[in-house]
């Protein structure tokens, strides 16, 4: 049963959404500046100042201006290192622009504008992700995913539980390191052992599964953006990604966009996205030490 939240509740939830997005943006920026050594000290001060907004004056997060600052910072990194910037950085740039524009709307229209922007960002993201995979020969024939499976590139947290699979992957990884250290003129190839039975079929099957899930999320947000099933698909995708591959910044960003796409009545789903997004942002910051 849906219960319409009061205006106070809505304002509080809007602040929670925007705070989550700010935490995500701060984590992504910290990670990028540290990874690429771009003016770390000045940027760290900037990021701390950004986060202090949440503590000092939470309502300022509902002003477009902090978002213009976030957007400018993201654009600066895009221009500075265009071929190094990861995809979540691009996504955060679009999100910041969308939030800044939405917060400039009349208060009565803000929630709906945020939802509409989030919906279309997810549609474009998942649509193009699906097309890229469909047209990529190394994805379709399972060669890229097969390579990652063979070297244990997926499922780090669960790999020790898989016994012989983990041992084969570790041995394959050693062979890969040795092969890559040798001059291509003297080392033409190396043979890796299949970590699981029916390995070629598993690799192609995994590719088909990923394609199907991304296509379903695309269709869900295109055709039924408010339906709980669309959100459940996105949450399942993010959770699976967290287990298979610890892309915490990306997961934090898409969870925050999912949160933004919820209606005010979908409070449980919103909360789930928010908690997951903040946990992933915390995991990003933890990796920085």
């Amino acid at each position: 049963m849906h219960v319409d939240p009061s205006n106070d509740d809505r304002a509080r939830e809007d602040r929670a959404l925007l705070s989550t997005l700010l935490v995500t943006a701060a984590a992504a920026l910290c990670y990028f500046f540290t990874s690429y050594r771009m003016g770390e000290d000045a940027q760290t001060v900037g990021v701390i100042a950004l986060l202090s907004l949440l503590v000092v004056q939470p309502r300022w997060t509902c002003s477009p201006w902090p978002w213009v600052v976030v957007l400018s910072s993201l654009l600066w990194t895009l221009v500075g290192r265009p071929l190094d910037v990861p995809n979540h950085h691009f996504m955060l740039t679009y999100v910041s622009a969308a939030v800044a524009l939405s917060l400039g709307a009349r208060p009565a229209l803000r929630a709906e504008t945020l939802q509409r922007n989030a919906r279309w960002l997810l549609v474009v993201l998942m649509g193009f992700a699906t097309v890229h995979k469909v047209v990529s020969p190394t994805f379709r024939d399972g060669s890229y995913l097969g390579y990652e499976i063979a070297r244990g590139g997926f499922g780090d947290p669960v790999m020790p539980l898989l016994g012989s699979v983990g041992q084969v992957s570790a041995e394959n990884d050693r062979r890969i390191v040795g092969f890559r250290a040798r001059d291509p003129a003297s080392a033409e190839s190396v043979t890796l052992d299949p970590p699981v039975p029916f390995f070629p079929e598993v690799a192609v099957g995994f590719a088909v599964l990923i394609l199907a899930i991304e296509a379903l999320i695309f269709a869900g947000f295109l055709l039924a953006p408010r339906h709980a099933v669309s959100h459940l698909l996105l949450i399942s995708f993010a959770t699976t990604l967290a287990v298979l591959r610890q892309e915490f910044t990306f997961i934090s960003v898409i969870s925050a966009i999912g949160m933004m796409a919820c209606t005010p009545q979908q409070r449980g789903i919103r909360l789930a996205y928010g908690v997951f997004s903040v946990l992933c942002a915390a995991a990003v910051l933890k990796t920085l030490g």
Binding site: L83, D84, Y94, A97, F128, R175
Partner: protein
Amino acid sequence: MFFLRNYSVATVMALVAATQLFVVQTQGLVSWRAGGFGMYASFHPRHHEAWVTTGDGGEPVRYTKYDAAADCEVYRAIRHCLTWPSNLRLDEALLGLPEELRQATRVRIYRLNFDPSSGVLSRKLLAESPRTAPSGAR
């Protein structure tokens, strides 16, 4: 104003994504970068290698995208070619080197190539300068 607030960002994003897809398909850009919509669609740039020989009879040295120890003049010049490898871009990158060093430098950029059926991992030549193989060898 309604379009600007509600659809302009997604429209810009779709244009960037379409451009990236076109460049990936026609110009050899790695699908993970410059928009990043092709994450996990192909080998990551960390699976690309630049093998650099400087001087006659010198041993080739390997550089990769996240090689912390790689801080030489040649690597700095060609680093972006690991993300967007092409013969033309590699030639242009080497033009930035001093004449003497450029004449003595040979660069080959490979990516890994895997066949799940046989389990054979090999390399695929993406770009080289100066060229020894026909350009169609890419």
